[in-house]
């Protein structure tokens, strides 16, 4: 319970945010928020000592026991690592936002509530062992991301980006839910831990490949893999702290988490290896290639994030290949999973700091357009230093953590080229080649980001604001991350023991029994290996191309705009929106009669056809009650009354005839031994007639309109069809009773269980009390509706479409 409650701590804290924002206006709300992730971070740190020795924690809260749905908190190496990232980066981002978002001008309470909601959602995703609650939290991250991207909701681009990310990630989430349900059907449990030992049997199941593809769709959409990455660049409309947090450090890594978590289940199938490694590598290449095209600082970082996510994804794919190798723990394949986790940590540190720097540049100069920036080095020396550390790490330069994981990445890519299964021996060479080219582009855009912003000529006339260094508070968070970038380079094996190896065990539980068995030692110098030569090649070619960047950057313009994935998305949205509208207009012409005609004719045709196709029409006289003289008289009176309503053109006559029909119904109720109904019907009819008479003054004078005979004939045919249908239904329903009525139970228990005598009333207030509760609610709603329509006379708006 305790660990489960911690997941919800941020959400609970969010309840107090509006009060703090409204009442304690003098202190920036962010300071209160900061305490939440910081406290959680410190708590999760204390769990490291257990988890690094292979310990796990599991706690469960039974949420819907009847459906076997529980919210669980399962802490092992992988989820602890993610929890630390979420709370650690979270704390830094909140600290940064305190200085980034002005407390007087921004809607801080909205911002922090969304942010805290996201924290809970993300902690829930990584700690859930139960797939249904995992899905729930997964969609909650999409929703909070949607809200945060659309935070400046008055901007068109924000709303567009928010909707785009929502459409794509929720689509993926739904696919993933399908995959989860298939897994449940196959394995009989929602628990991931219980599914893993069954992996060997699951792989032969017919649904296995479907579950695999569906879950990968969820992971790929969330982690912005090709071709779903298009939402991430548009998500950059969010405030920069959000971009740093959700769209680079945590949420987009949920897909990676999912792949890592499900590797033990799916890795036995070669399709998984191919898809994860292949799509990852393609994304790596695609993202890095198009990052150089961007002119927006955050755009560069967005594409770079896409590409780095692809890198980690491809490493996870190679890690899955280890399941197909004899004794993988002692071959080169052991590096892939390790490198994936290692790079995941490194990426969070350097990309987080780079995003914050992009935010600082935006904040202090008023623009993010890299063509207007330049020469800020002397004006913003600290920012420049931090940016340089982050970007060099991203490029893979030595003395920074990116160098170490990049080397291991190349090792893993070289290893898969030697892989013999799944015709890797034919296509496998593509992996190191693509990886190398992508790394060259990574090198270029890293330098492009730093030097085109901070070096070169300062152009103050192009900047909306006079550039100066950011306040010290804003620099703390990126500086902390930059220091980590350097520190991790010097103590990689300590980090490995604490965080990486426990996580690796979670990805490859079949290979290792405890984190200590993961036999990987990180070293900066391996001697003259192929990796080293590849790295040197990257620096040389990358440096050369960067030097001549201005000359060839224009070449990107030859890619036609019309055939991009974004155009495809826009087209689909347009089709969905306008197409559906056009289609609906075809039959919804706004005339109520036509709607009725469709409904009534479809209903009578369907019901009559069903009754006769199933041979259900049956008239059984044996159960019938005898026909009485008085009943027949009343029935005749009702028919006459109804005919009067049909033919009269005076509204008063019609109302009186309707009253006569109503009273006749009441008498029928008496005859059929329903005293409650008779009483109610009598009073209701009286009040109804009074009501009709009251409304009399307001209603049109004549009750009948001149209608063409053909119009009348059509109506009559439909009316008779409906009448015939109802007669058939009534006769058939009465004549055959398949199951005994529950009324017998009511009769027997009304005195003993219900403590009453009038069965009808006891049904109303006790047996079916819910019905009554909702019924009186409907009554209340009807009254409110009537009051609103009569008392509230809104003035017609001058311009109804103000938002256009």
């Amino acid at each position: 319970m305790y660990l489960v409650l911690l997941i919800f701590l941020p959400l609970l804290a969010a309840v107090f945010i509006p009060f703090l924002f409204k009442r304690v206006g003098k202190i920036h709300t962010g300071w209160f928020v900061f305490a939440v992730p910081a406290a959680l971070f410190i708590y999760y740190l204390t769990l490291i000592s257990d988890v690094m020795n292979g310990g796990t924690f599991i706690e469960e809260f039974a949420w819907i026991p009847s459906l076997d749905i529980a919210i669980s908190s399962y802490i092992d190496g992988l989820s602890l690592l993610f929890s630390l990232l979420i709370t650690g980066i979270g704390s830094l981002v909140v600290l940064y936002s305190v200085f980034y978002l002005d407390k007087n001008r921004e809607q801080l309470h909205n911002f922090y509530i969304y942010l805290l909601m996201f924290m809970t959602a993300m902690l829930g995703v990584v700690q859930s062992d139960h797939m249904i609650s995992l899905y729930l939290f997964w969609e909650l991250t999409s929703i909070s991301s949607f809200l945060l991207i659309g935070y400046w909701y008055t901007r068109d681009r924000s709303r567009f980006g928010a909707l785009k990310s929502m459409m794509i990630t929720v689509f993926g989430g739904l696919m993933m839910l399908g995959g989860f349900i298939l897994l449940y059907i196959m394995g009989g449990t929602y628990s991931i831990r219980e599914l893993i030992p069954q992996a060997a049997e699951l792989v032969n199941h017919d649904f296995f490949i479907w579950a695999l593809v569906l879950i990968l769709l969820g992971a790929f959409t969330k982690s912005a893999q090709f071709p779903f990455y298009i939402w991430l660049p548009d998500a950059m409309e969010a405030p920069t702290p959000v971009s740093a947090y959700l769209h680079s450090a945590t949420m987009v890594k949920a897909g990676l988490y999912l792949v890592a978590r499900f590797t033990p289940i799916f890795a036995l199938d070669g399709t998984w290896v191919w898809l994860v490694a292949g799509i990852g590598l393609l994304t790596l290449f695609w993202g890095s290639f198009f990052a150089v095209k961007q002119t927006d600082l955050k755009g560069i970082l967005a594409f770079s994030t896409v590409s780095q996510l692809g890198l980690i994804m491809s490493l996870l794919g190679v890690a899955a290949a280890a399941y197909h190798v004899e004794d993988a723990a002692s071959t080169v394949f052991k590096y892939a999973a390790f490198a994936a986790i290692f790079h995941l940590i490194n990426h969070a540190t350097f990309k987080g700091s780079l995003f914050m720097i992009a935010g600082i540049v935006d904040h202090e100069t008023g623009t993010r357009d890299i063509r207007k920036l330049g020469g800020l080095m002397s004006l913003m020396p600290i920012s420049f230093t931090i940016a340089m550390i982050g970007a060099f790490s991203m490029a893979g330069l030595p003395l920074l953590n990116g160098f170490l994981s990049k080397e291991m990445f190349l090792t893993a890519m070289l290893s898969i080229a030697q892989f013999e299964l799944f015709s890797m021996d034919v296509w496998g060479f593509l992996f190191p080649v693509l990886a190398w080219i992508a790394s060259v582009f990574t090198f270029i855009y890293s330098f492009y980001f730093v030097f085109h912003t901070f070096a070169g000529k300062h152009k103050p006339e192009l900047l909306p604001k006079k550039a100066h260094e950011a306040p010290i508070g804003m620099l703390i968070s990126p500086a902390v991350l930059a220091v980590l970038v350097i520190v991790i380079f010097f103590i990689p094996n300590l980090v490995a023991d604490w965080l990486i190896k426990p996580a690796v065990v979670a990805i490859q539980p079949f290979l290792y029994n405890s984190p200590a068995e993961v036999d990987v030692h990180v070293s900066a110098w391996h001697g003259f290996q192929p990796e080293l030569f590849m790295t040197i090649g990257i620096f040389a070619v990358g440096g050369l191309l960067f030097w001549k960047l201005r000359k060839w950057q224009k070449a990107y313009k030859i890619f036609p705009e019309a055939f991009t994935l974004n155009r495809l998305y826009d087209g689909m949205m347009f089709l969905g929106d306008t197409g559906a509208n056009r289609f609906s207009r075809m039959y919804m012409d706004g005339i109520m009669r036509n709607g009725f005609v469709y409904m009534f004719s479809a209903m009578s045709v369907l019901v009559i056809a069903t009754v006769f196709l199933n041979d259900a029409f049956l008239v059984d006289f044996s159960q019938s009650a005898p026909i009485g003289f008085y009943e027949v008289t009343i029935i005749l009176a009702m028919i006459i009354g109804t005919i009067v309503i049909l033919v009269t053109s005076s509204r008063l006559t019609a109302i009186i005839a309707l009253g006569a029909v109503g009273y006749s119904v009441a008498i029928l109720f008496v005859m059929f031994r329903a005293p409650d109904l008779a009483l109610t019907q009598l009073v209701i009819e009286t009040v109804s007639v009074a009501l009709f008479l009251l409304a009399f003054f307001h209603l049109p004078k004549v009750a009948k309109k001149m209608e063409r005979p053909s119009f009348k004939l059509g109506n009559a045919i439909i009316a008779i069809a409906v009448g015939a249908m109802m007669t058939i239904v009534a006769l058939s329903a009465h004549s055959q009773k398949i199951i005994p009525s529950i009324s017998e139970y009511y009769k027997e228990t009304v005195y003993t269980l219900g403590g009453g005598g009038n069965i009808v009333n006891v049904i109303l207030v006790d047996y079916r009390g819910f019905d009554t509760l909702f019924e009186i609610t409907v009554l209340g709603i009807a009254a409110i509706g009537i009051i609103t329509m009569i008392k509230l006379r809104l003035k017609k708006k001058e311009a109804p479409h103000e938002n256009k």
Binding site: M592, A625, A654, V661, D676, H734, S743, I759
Partner: protein, 114 residues
Amino acid sequence: MEILMSLLIGFLFAAAVYLMLSKSLIRVVLGTAVLSHAAHLLLLTMGGLGGTKPPVVADGVTVYDYADPLPQALILTAIVIAFAVTAFLLVVSYRAYQELGTDDMSLMKGNEDE
């Protein structure tokens, strides 16, 4: 008796639908009122009209042939709801008549650009 009632229900439904399909606003409201009567009788008939005593159990004696209480309970709620809906429809129709100045259903349709 049930057959007779079934025919009556069919007739009431036909009349109600015919009224609802007409052009005049007030006839649509009358139609829904007739429709609810028809529906109540349908429920009652479906449960069977046998039963020689009202469904009231005195002192726990359950040996009699009671009328079926379940349709009665359903109808009781339905009657009250039908009243609220009729009142609501009345107000909708007369407000529409006031605002639009017509009671011809074929003229009442939404804006093109709505």
